[in-house]
Symmetry: C2
Subunit: 389 residues, 2 copies
């Protein structure tokens, strides 16, 4: 069983235990895959039971091959109180659960199994802890970004005239997998269905979707109305590639845009404004910058360049230009007009000012930045211009 | 916006409305993608509000392009009671929610937004309704199975000596996508993470996983410990291919096994026992057969053939040999020793008696059957023998 480096595991646990104590709880139960991985370094079906002090107890249903003195095999949550009592521990009076991840049925069953303690929600606090990354975590994001760039550099060689968006996406997916992508990637929330990323060609970039991504696309199935829809890659239009950077447990995020043979001047102009927004945000950076002010700066630059109607969509416009990234693709902070967050050292965020041009397609770039004391580090080292296919 | 055929939509709605009435509720709120698709034929971010009589009301946050007189745009659930009152409708006193799908946070927010009505859980009842398929649904499953078989027939031509399980899987994934697979597939429950399916080579078939699938596999990432793990496809071992049959909204499920160049006699023997279990179950079928008795028959045949230690795993043995399939890969009924369900016309289920042989690998087949009045229809028309690569 792979484990986390000792220093990582203890530092993460300590931060969570401080929160548990400050929220006046006796225990916190972690059940979601991402947070189990964050705290333990592996996944299991069961309950990671964390007290304000001491080692976590792992109540594990499966797999059967995880062992250790902190591992207590169980079949069902109703066994937990008895096992605690047998070990001389009191079942909790106030317990924190992942209320944003657990289903209502699982949460109420767990609460009943524990003898109906008071409950609180730890989901948001765990997201806040995960928002500030360690050097170990950030290095994984740089590694992922390096592989991501290698895959994107192959795109011109994968393209052939007469392809559809879906056909090109399939060849990119194959290269992603050959370069170590695990396939799925993790997202927070109930409206984040996606396959391996999004490719938007021509006017499909205008199609609104039910999901909480920056842009939409009609997709190829009513069960996944998002992304590529079979649009022929047509000379004079653009293609936006926003495929996952999931080459390590910690991810990066990157978008690049392509002109099919050629594109109108407006596409080059809007693409340059996206690059200029990145530059302006990098240059104006200081620790404590309000995330809302970054959104406002980008929106202002879109307006000055008479691109407001195309900013972050047309039919449906996203009200954010960036988001934290890590084990999940959508972590805090969010770069939106109503965000109360500020940029702090150890954060990592994707910046994606994009334009959707009717009759042409989507343009703009997305990079992932690490926040340092004195600067933003762009970890995406990949051609930024509107690349001709 | 694609819609369901009128007859499908009205028949599904009617079944749900009978349940709502019989559960003494004023309304049912459907929010999960699969059940929204089942009732409406499309997905949206919002609330499908169903009363015991009359048309559903769609409270839609996004996308913005769904319109109609039953569509009421909203920003947040707190607007629902006012909108109901404005239309002369009383907010519900007792409401059914999808408690097995909604998060605890979303469920409690919705309950508060509706003025704290009593709540009940509709998840299980919707699964029971979906368990009995219409001719329209079953025909989609046959179509999916035909494409699935075409893709599996390509496997010998995709294999090259010296490949790993992951390398071959990537080529199969590419063919799946070229044949119309949407990529993701839908599953019920909180322990069903997977990418496009499972490939198990050699002793990796013994690795237990945290997830609720028949077999495990170590996987290539601690964030997805399941399936192929980079095992070299070695002569004398076997490869089990259980990739998704998601070529329509309604799915089929199929497993086939392969010998790498050659395999020991035990592999051929156990594979034949799996085929014999299929035959015995098909031949003994009558409407009303208890699902538990099918499990027992299979287990008995494994014992008679001295294969009990290898039946459905070694280190961790699954206690089921089949499951319903439809919009989700794991629908009722379940073919397990404790199942209370019986086979009824309109059901569709996957049957997967498998053996894991130490030092060799997994063998056996999985077919999908439709239950008719007088017979089981095998919709998987694809070579069943242990195929040599």
């Amino acid at each position: 069983m792979r484990r986390l480096p000792e220093q990582e595991a203890s530092s993460r646990l300590e931060k969570l235990q401080q929160i548990i104590a400050s929220m006046g709880a006796d225990a916190c139960v972690v059940t979601s895959p991402v947070n189990q991985y964050y705290l333990q370094g592996f996944l299991f079906d069961g309950y990671c039971y964390i007290r304000p002090e001491g080692d976590p107890i792992l109540f594990i249903k499966r797999p059967s091959n995880i062992t250790g003195d902190r591992v207590w095999p169980i079949r069902k949550p109703e066994q937990i109180p008895t096992l605690l009592l047998e070990a001389g521990l009191t079942p909790p009076q106030r317990v924190l659960i992942e209320a944003d991840q657990l289903t209502y049925s699982s949460a109420t069953r767990l609460q009943a199994a524990l003898g109906m303690p008071e409950t609180g929600n730890i989901s948001g606090e765990l997201r806040k802890i995960r928002m500030i990354k360690s050097a170990y975590e950030l290095e994984q994001m740089r590694e992922s970004a390096r592989v991501h760039a290698k895959v994107y550099e192959l795109i011109p060689s994968l393209y052939r005239a007469g392809m559809t968006d879906v056909e090109l996406q399939i060849e990119i997916e194959r290269q992603m997998r050959l370069h170590g992508s695990v396939g799925i990637f993790r997202a927070f929330g109930e409206n984040m269905d996606i396959f391996m990323g999004s490719m938007l060609a021509g006017d499909n970039a205008q199609a609104p979707s039910p999901f909480d991504y920056a842009l939409g696309g009609a997709g190829i199935s009513p069960l996944l109305p998002l992304g590529a829809n079979g649009t022929l890659l047509t000379p004079g239009t653009t293609l936006m590639v926003d495929m996952a950077g999931n080459y390590r447990p910690y991810m990066d995020d990157m978008t690049r845009s392509f002109a099919i043979e050629h594109a109108p001047d407006l596409a080059y102009k809007a693409h340059q404004v996206s690059i200029d927004i990145h530059k302006a945000i990098v240059e104006s950076f200081h620790v404590g910058t309000a995330c809302a002010s970054l959104y406002n700066m980008a929106e202002e630059m879109a307006k000055e360049n008479e691109l407001a109607p195309y900013f972050m969509g047309t039919v449906q416009q996203a009200k954010f230009i960036g988001h934290g990234v890590g084990l999940e693709i959508n972590e805090p902070p969010v770069l939106s007009p109503r965000s109360k967050e500020t940029l702090e050292p150890g954060m990592a965020f994707a910046l994606e000012p994009k334009f959707v041009l009717p009759g042409i397609g989507a343009v703009g770039i997305e990079n992932t930045y690490i926040v340092h004391d004195d600067r933003l580090e762009n970890i995406i080292l990949c051609e930024e211009s509107l690349i001709c296919l």
